[in-house]
Symmetry: C2
Subunit: 339 residues, 2 copies
């Protein structure tokens, strides 16, 4: 079924059918309804190729996933799926076309963006893993393509974005531990060149400051993703050997795994001898007994908000943004200390 046949069935011109479906005001409500009815009946939907071609524009969302950075920066697998899941509802209901590309290298990533803009002519983009002064931003702004950042950079931001509220997260955790009388809290983070790690560090530091707790260098460590065993070793040496530390915050599931290993090795029972709280941790959170208390964010909403911003009727404001609120899931790995 194509528009021509549908127009014949309806005894209307092709133009009217097209405009009716497009919701233009120059077709009466009555005929519009009839057109929609027939379109449904004959299961018609416009050929996107013809449509894009004729209108000289697309309604396509482009999205490049940097495979090379998976699990070694802001993108982890679980968060990807949640984000996508949140997006997909909106995408389906808004009838947006959706092109996703996967890049195994930085070079491929560059090519992928080029292709999206120049060949596929997408009009919306989700930008992941933004860097400071990211060239993609200028590129997109120059080409007047709507985009929203998944994650954001530091400092002044002149583009719309969605992100986890990382600073609040660590603040929340610190408060949670503080309320349970922990005063020497170790924070195992990753390199703060990653924004999420930087933000989490800020939350940690600000809480200390607010409560007039001195920052102890030895309580904060930054580990790499690369060698998990190394992580366990570092934790064992620097954290577990420090008898003052009563609680550990892990910034990633990997470091939580490392912490668990270190604790096992040092024969410290999590939730009894030492408290542990981790970000996310879908898999590791139930290995300990009692299971790990964790902090999570609703990343589904992040995905749907991103689409919302991109499709908002009004011209996208450069300060639209959304912060996913954190939530602590209590499971029992945090001990309440005596005063």
């Amino acid at each position: 079924m194509n528009i021509k046949k549908l127009a014949e069935k309806l005894q209307l011109s092709i133009t009217t059918v097209s405009r009716g479906l497009g919701g233009y005001s120059d077709v009466s409500e009555a005929t519009r309804k009839k057109i929609i009815k027939f379109a449904k009946k004959y299961n018609y939907s416009p050929n996107p190729n013809a449509s894009n071609l004729a209108s000289r524009k697309t309604n396509t969302l482009g999205f490049v996933i940097p495979l090379y950075g998976l699990n070694s920066n802001t993108l982890n697998q679980a968060s990807f799926f949640e984000f996508i899941s949140g997006m997909s509802n909106k995408i389906n209901s808004e009838n947006i076309q959706f092109i996703m590309k996967f890049a195994n290298t930085i070079d491929e990533e560059k090519k992928a963006y080029d292709n999206l803009i120049k060949v596929e002519k997408v009009n919306k983009v989700i930008l992941h893993n933004l860097k400071k002064n990211d060239p993609r931003i200028k590129f997109l702004q120059k080409n007047k393509i709507n985009f929203v950042g998944w994650g954001r950079t530091q400092g002044r931001i002149n583009y719309p974005w969605v992100d986890l509220d990382n600073e609040t997260s660590t603040n929340l955790i610190m408060q949670y531990l503080y309320d349970r009388n922990h005063r020497n809290i170790a924070f195992i983070n990753v390199d703060d060149k990653y924004n999420f790690a930087y933000q989490r560090k800020q939350g940690y530091l600000k809480f200390l400051k607010k409560n007039k707790i001195k920052f102890k260098k030895e309580n904060y460590i930054s580990v790499s993703y690369e060698d998990p065993d190394q992580v366990a070793l570092v934790i064992e040496k620097k954290i577990l050997n420090n008898s003052k530390i009563t609680a550990i915050i892990c910034s990633t599931e990997y470091s939580a795994a490392g912490a668990i290993k270190a604790c096992n090795k040092a024969n410290k029972k999590i939730g009894i001898d030492i408290s542990l709280i981790t970000f996310d941790g879908n898999i590791v959170n139930f290995i300990t007994s009692p299971s790990l208390t964790a902090i999570t964010h609703d990343r589904k909403i992040l995905g749907s908000k991103a689409i919302e911003i991109l499709t908002s009727e009004t011209k996208i404001k450069n300060n639209s943004h959304y912060l996913a609120k954190p939530e602590i899931i209590e499971r029992g790995s945090v001990l309440t200390l005596k005063k």
Copy 2:
């Protein structure tokens, strides 16, 4: 840049440029080279919308990801990314367009396939999580759309597929354990309605038979994905309480996590008091000390083979297939018993 302008630059007709780029034999080698040179120079690539429209066909691969089944059937997140990663090289080099859809429900999944075929007019599909007598197969065969299964069903198969060699995997593991003098080996599987689980069970059973070891009902348990804590409990009760069992095979990362928890609770040291070997387990494999010995498959190749089958010049044979070979990564959670 479009084909018309490029033709002007080349002082050739649009037809010749199009056919030259398409590699047709009715344009001389000399002009073809010149065309390609100019196309590169002016950074021209055909508008896919116009191209699809004019040729009445596409070169598009469709792929529906069932989000609802994530981590609760054959699809887990890590395998998805590996598969995709393997695909993407081929996709880029073969200049295939690629549409991926995500379905949160079975209903959405159905709609997604419909959309791919009828609206997007894809000519290639990757089918995931195949069921016996899967209606999608008939649907695609009827519409003469090339497809390849990621995973396969049991029994006679009349379509091309790629899959893990699950039967060999368990066979390999069993041999590995047997060589180290384990005779009472527990296998923690998931419901064998999932084909991969069924195949793994077959490998386990066949090994027993071949080596004339009696199958002991109490050594085989099937656990669900839903409640990880429950898994740990079952393992503790049924496996760890059975003093004859010297080694455990875990079919999924989740059950390995459950096993670790159970061992911790029962105070059994993995790699010392009991041996453990798991499928995959990117995250859990380094929690224990020594780290978990695991069996993995190269899922990247699975992805690239899938594309290879779909793009093979010759008409796709219904018996093309590829089995990813397993490999044991020794880490130290398996003990060699004394004879």
